[in-house]
């Protein structure tokens, strides 16, 4: 205890509370911190780990052995049966359908949002503030209010059972992405624009050749979130896709759930894991963009 006393004068300059607890506290502070934060991390990850490892167990034993994490015997059978799919199409077919929707939507939404964002951030025109305010309101508008009329409009257009109702609206920009890119463009010094304009560069060329390359990182952020939202989307496919031939990954999983029984838990878990693989892979590859996107604009993940 003598050492503890000795440390007091040295530390009460910085913090009186820290000094009272002395060397012992300083020594155990970080281990306690890591135990606490680490335990919470384990708790957060446990459900995912459980589903992942259960997918390697024999289907019938999953709930009988739910209290043990590791399978007694590792097996790939669930992945093989799961990949065969339900409803007459393989799971790969559903993955392909999702990929088509994701790629078309993402190209559409990123390009159109960039064009619109440039207009808001760099061009002076009458009514700009008005339209920007409208955009900020649509950002907060509950989607439920347009659900029914949109369905009616798309039905009248004869777009049911096609991907049009899902992908076409993406080509008109998404408020979250427009807002994100406007914020980004505003950080680019305006001198660049002026120099380019003096050199006789038109607005369109200014956008394509100067601004677009400089906002690459916000384009990537928008593309990543668009990928997530379209890949995980359930409501769109539930409403607009009626034949299993056009079903997406979410619909494939829903079909597993609808035919749930003790013999296919394993396959359902296995395909749930497969459906998460692209999402997790992109998350680890582009983490920096994702963290930046959320911190700077409040996009919801």
């Amino acid at each position: 205890m003598a050492e503890r006393k000795a440390s007091i004068p040295e530390y009460n300059v910085i913090s009186s509370t820290r000094a009272q607890k002395g060397w012992f506290w300083r020594k155990i502070k970080w281990p306690i911190y890591h135990i606490f934060v680490g335990l919470l991390a384990v708790l957060m990850m446990y459900p995912i780990a459980w589903m992942l490892l259960s997918s390697f167990k024999e289907s019938r034993t999953i709930f009988a052995t739910a209290n043990t994490l590791l399978p007694a015997q590792w097996m790939w059978d669930n992945y093989i049966t799961g990949w065969k799919g339900v409803g007459g199409y393989s799971f790969g077919h559903y993955m392909w359908n999702s990929l088509v929707i994701v790629v078309i939507s993402t190209v559409g939404v990123v390009l159109s949002s960039a064009v619109i964002a440039f207009g808001f951030a760099r061009l002076n025109f009458k009514g700009r503030n008005f339209w920007f305010a409208i955009m900020m309101v649509t950002l907060m508008l509950p989607h439920d209010v347009v659900l029914v009329p949109q369905y009616i409009i798309f039905t009248k257009l004869g777009w049911l059972n096609s991907i049009y109702p899902i992908v076409v609206p993406q080509f008109f920009g998404a408020p979250f992405f427009i807002f994100l890119m406007v914020q980004f463009i505003r950080t680019i010094p305006k001198d660049l624009d002026e120099a380019a304009t003096i050199d006789g560069c038109g607005k369109f060329r200014l956008f394509i050749q100067i601004i677009l390359p400089l906002i690459k990182s916000s384009l990537a952020t928008a593309a990543i979130f668009s990928f997530y939202w379209r890949w995980e989307d359930l409501l769109g496919p539930v409403l607009y896709l009626n034949s299993p031939d056009k079903y997406t990954v979410s619909m494939g999983l829903k079909m597993f759930l609808d035919s749930e029984s003790s013999s296919n838990w394993g396959a359902m878990f296995a395909m749930s894991i497969v459906s998460l693989l692209p999402v997790v892979a992109i998350f680890f590859a582009f983490q920096r963009h994702i963290v930046e996107g959320i911190s700077s604009s409040g996009i919801k993940g």
């Binding site: 589903m51 339209w131 509950p142 989607h143 659900l147 609808d258 894991i273």
Partner: protein, 302 residues
């Protein structure tokens, strides 16, 4: 003349760039909203033309549909218990992670991952199964000597299951809080320490006020998105909203009215009531925020 032409050209260029937004806004938001408003005063099943019934839908909703009031009650519990819990948890973890440890990046990744995958059908399937009779949650309860709960036999328990799923996804709010905490200068805390302030006082007098704009932003966005929650309730209850309508969130009930029973007019009326309610709530949050949100520029500047 030349000047007028110049300004006309500038205006035209501006509108050319934002025209996709204007067209999209008219076609997919404004016009549908008017259609929805009209439909809310009609009885419409998609196959025959809409029949004007005045306030009939609203009358039925407010006086003659116990299922509607049940869905309102379930949604209010879901939002007013779930959102504060999630934000409190997000703020707590953000403060814990706001240190100079080398491991913080890893922890942040782990805590954030559930938010990224949370909207997927796969996660809802997972949640359904960890809460099943022999699932890990009941194993966990039994390990601590508690009785297992029949999560799918009890309306309150089922709603609790949905709320824990929403709290589990606290990651995106946590990231926004972390960004806000990084903006608070450490000198403030040091100065408070010299004055002998306790950690609780530092939290109440420095962290909370300086973070209040971020809290307001999170509160509004999370509340709106919580009101619209659909996928977890739809997947976990297999589209039925059960048990005993315990997971019948407003959006799910609206979806069932519109697309299972073809009551398009009734669903449109429900959507408008929700829009007005959310509008009022957001307005009240903004108005009362003057009393509790602290903007740095007013009190001394950066």
């Amino acid at each position: 003349m030349a000047i007028r032409n110049e300004s006309l050209k500038t205006n035209l260029t501006g509108y050319a760039f934002i025209s996709p937004f204007i067209i999209g806004f008219l076609a997919f938001t404004l016009i549908p909203m008017f259609i929805s408003l009209y439909l809310s005063f009609t009885s419409y099943n998609l196959f025959t033309s809409p029949r004007w019934i005045g306030l009939g839908n609203f009358e039925k909703m407010f006086t003659n549909d116990p299922k509607y009031w049940n869905s309102v009650r379930v949604t209010i519990y879901y939002v007013f218990v779930g959102v504060p819990l999630r934000l409190a948890f997000a703020l707590f973890v953000a403060m814990v992670l706001n240190t100079a440890s080398r491991m913080v990046g890893t922890y942040r990744t782990i805590y954030y991952l559930p938010s990224i995958i949370g909207g997927s059908v796969a996660v809802s399937i997972m949640w359904r199964n960890i809460f099943s009779e022999q699932g890990i949650v009941n194993h966990f309860l039994m390990a601590f000597g508690a009785a297992p709960v029949n999560w799918f036999g009890n309306a309150t328990a089922a709603l609790g299951m949905l709320i824990t799923l929403s709290v589990w996804q606290f990651g995106s709010s946590m990231l926004i809080f972390l960004a806000g905490l990084k903006n608070i200068s450490p000198e403030m805390y040091e100065a408070a320490s010299v004055d002998g302030a306790s950690p609780v006082r530092k939290f109440l007098n420095i962290t909370l006020p300086l973070l209040s704009p971020v809290i307001l932003f999170n509160l509004i966005m999370q509340t709106i998105s919580a009101f619209m929650t659909f996928v977890p309730a739809y997947v976990i209850s297999k589209g039925e909203g059960g048990p005993l309508d315990g997971t019948m969130l407003y959006s799910l009930y609206l979806f069932r009215q519109a697309f299972m029973f073809n009551n398009m007019g009734y669903a449109a009326a429900m959507a408008w009531v929700m829009l007005i309610f959310i509008g009022i709530l957001t307005f009240v949050l903004f108005k009362t925020s003057k009393m509790w949100v602290f903007y740095e520029s007013e009190g001394g500047g950066r």
